[in-house]
């Protein structure tokens, strides 16, 4: 069964077409990564799939039309981590991660022991024990990224959307964060849908890659099929070579001829 499915989705803003007749399905437990050049419509597609932006066409999760669900019902099914999440001034890590419990609380209710237990568990799993009383503003980029992830995991949804979760991290922290997401995906049977810039990392972690350009799906499938040098060069207007290093598909930029001389 498709946990998440969009059919003939289009989004227009004024005269610009951000998404043009896109149809995608995602299966339970899959890791799907949306890639594409800047302005391809990656974030728009992710927002539409997460029900945070309206569009023409149908968007459904578990066979229910997303537009028919209340924000609360929706938030119990899917969590969303934006590219640059808000960092409320003066908020502690504990309080921040506890906000993920919102859709599970009664209207105007507050957290109880069960929620505290769940958050303790999440913080433990993300190596954030001991950070609980720190202010978010005092954390490093990598620590902060783990907090955003922790809030999404505390939401306890079967589907997690992430918009470029590792773009602002260094190489080591990128790998740590993606390893962590992979581990949580396995442990908690989560479906992961994200956007990413780094094609090599996308190939290493994803089950499937969707290549977007000009608001349209250009290619879709296993990483090795999608990442193919000729159309990457055209779409990204870049000089690239796709290499096979052991099991990995590696996308390498090539320097210009001028520079070599």
């Amino acid at each position: 069964m498709r946990v998440c499915e969009i059919e003939n989705v289009s989004v227009r803003a004024g005269r610009a077409t951000l998404l043009d007749d896109v149809s995608i399905g995602v299966s339970a437990g899959e890791w799907v990564t949306i890639v594409g050049p800047n302005g391809a419509g990656k974030t728009t597609l992710l927002s539409v799939m997460a029900g945070l932006m309206s569009s023409a066409g149908t968007v459904s999760i578990y066979g229910h039309n997303l537009a028919d669900l209340s924000p609360r019902q929706r938030a119990r099914q899917l969590a969303y981590v934006p590219q640059q999440p808000e960092v409320p001034p003066g908020m502690t890590v504990n309080s921040y991660v506890l906000l993920g419990r919102t859709p599970h609380l009664p209207l105007l209710g507050v957290e109880g022991p069960r929620d505290f237990g769940i958050v303790e568990d999440v913080l433990d799993g993300l190596d954030l024990v001991g950070f609980g009383y720190r202010n978010l503003e005092s954390l490093s980029g990598g620590e902060l990224q783990r907090c955003h992830l922790a809030r999404a995991i505390a939401q306890a949804t079967p589907i997690v959307f992430m918009d470029e979760p590792v773009t602002s991290l260094d190489l080591g922290h990128q790998q740590q964060a993606l390893d962590l997401i992979e581990r949580l995906r396995q442990e908690r049977q989560i479906t992961v849908i994200m956007t990413m810039h780094d094609l090599t990392l996308a190939a290493q972690y994803s089950d499937r890659i969707i290549l977007l350009s000009g608001g349209q799906v250009v290619a879709e499938g296993a990483p090795a099929q999608v990442l193919e040098s000729s159309h990457l060069s055209t779409l990204y207007a870049a000089r690239v070579k796709v290499l096979k290093v052991g099991e990995d598909v590696v996308v390498v930029p090539i320097s210009s001829q001028k520079r070599r001389q």
Binding site: A50, L52, S70, P71, R72, Q73, R74, A75, R76, A79, Y80, P82, P85, E86, P88, P89, G90, M91, T92, N94, S95, V97, L98, L99, G100, T102, P103, L105, L108, G109, V110, E111, F116, G117, V119, E120, L123, V129, G130, G132, Y133, E137, Q155
Partner: protein, 356 residues
């Protein structure tokens, strides 16, 4: 010891108003109440005041030895004024805190959406039409101030909503600026055409509690209680709103709806407070910020503490205003800024927590 320290660092609990802060808030209210009741131009013995108050407690019968006039001063002059001051201070402070929360703007105060300008216009109309001389049994000044205040906020919301508040709450703030300027222009025009009432209008605008009676207390109390109750019920939701509309929506709340409900509640409270006390600036801005800097930024702490310290602050300021140059009273709005501003600067300088 070690185990205790360990469990403190790992156990997850939500932020809440801790006992020391709750006690200091209650203590501040108690001290301000006591001082305001005991001190005044009529020379009444402190012990006699205490006995007179004790006498009214159930099952206790003591003789305070006060003359009926002095007893009357306590029950009909000082006490309503103290209660009114507390209600106005608490209402303005919690309304300000809730405005800051829903707009995620540290400069938001309860008058942000035109409440003050609308009330000013309403009061001016009541005064210049002569019906609001305060001598009749039914005074139209509070009524028109209340109506003007609510109408201004409604107009702001309507304008802001039709011009794109869905995209950003900033549209609402800008609409508030436009409505306030427009209504102030009308108010100034009316005032200039009726210069003989300028003193009355000016006195009203500066804010005062010297006409306080139980009638005004009963006018404000239901709105103050309703507003505070609604806002306090949203204390956690207002913490979720700190994530911004998009993320708040992604964890399952409706930011537009929450903003509307809280604005309605806070505006009702503010309008009622303004109607009975005139424009008392500063309380709704400075009290929540001071609390936030000292006690923590969660609305579960800021909202209840703002109420307590807002009440205490206004009672204290009123006490200063009516005693420092006795028998003349200094307008309360002057004192709030005069006492509050330096205090806030001290707090701001001695603290590195961020606002917001």
């Amino acid at each position: 010891m070690v185990l205790g320290a360990h469990s403190r660092s790992t156990a997850v609990v939500s932020e809440k108003l801790r006992a020391p802060w709750l006690l200091s808030g209650l203590l501040a209210v108690a001290c301000a109440t006591a001082a305001s009741l005991l001190i005044g131009p009529a020379d009444i013995e402190i012990s006699a005041v205490l006995l007179e108050l004790t006498d009214r407690l159930p099952l206790i019968d003591v003789n305070s030895g006060l003359s009926p006039i002095h007893a009357n001063i306590i029950w009909e002059v000082r006490l309503p004024r103290v209660v009114l001051g507390a209600l106005v201070g608490a209402t303005l402070a919690i309304s300000g805190a809730s405005y800051q929360a829903v707009f995620r703007n540290p400069l938001a105060d309860p008058y942000l959406l035109g409440a003050a300008a609308g009330a000013g216009l309403g009061a001016t109309i009541a005064i210049v039409t002569g019906s609001g001389d305060g001598m009749g049994t039914f005074d139209t000044v509070p009524l028109l101030a209340f109506v003007g205040s609510l109408a201004a906020v409604a107009l702001t919301y309507f304008l802001g909503y039709s011009s794109g508040v869905r995209r950003s709450p900033a549209a609402l703030l800008l609409a508030g600026v436009a409505v306030a300027s427009f209504l102030t222009a009308i108010q100034t025009f009316i005032q200039q055409r009726n210069v003989e009432t300028i003193r009355q209008v000016y006195t009203w605008i500066l804010g005062r509690l010297n006409t306080a009676s139980w009638g005004e207390v009963s006018l404000l109390a239901p709105y103050a209680l309703l507003a505070s109750l609604v806002i306090l019920l949203h204390r956690r939701t207002l913490d979720v709103m700190r994530l911004g509309d998009a993320e708040a929506s992604s964890v399952g709340i409706r930011p537009q709806l929450v903003r509307l409900i809280v604005i309605i509640a806070a505006s009702l409270g503010t309008a009622a407070a303004v109607a009975v006390s005139g424009l008392i600036a500063f309380v709704g801005l400075i009290v929540p910020h001071t609390v936030r800097l000292l006690a923590g930024s969660s609305n579960r702490i800021v909202l209840p503490l703002s109420m307590m310290f807002g009440a205490a602050f206004l009672m204290f300021v009123d006490l200063v205003g009516r005693t420092i140059a006795s028998p003349t009273e200094i307008p309360i709005g002057v004192i709030t800024a005069f006492c509050g501003a330096p205090f806030f600067v001290v707090v701001l300088r001695s603290n590195r927590r961020s606002l917001g």
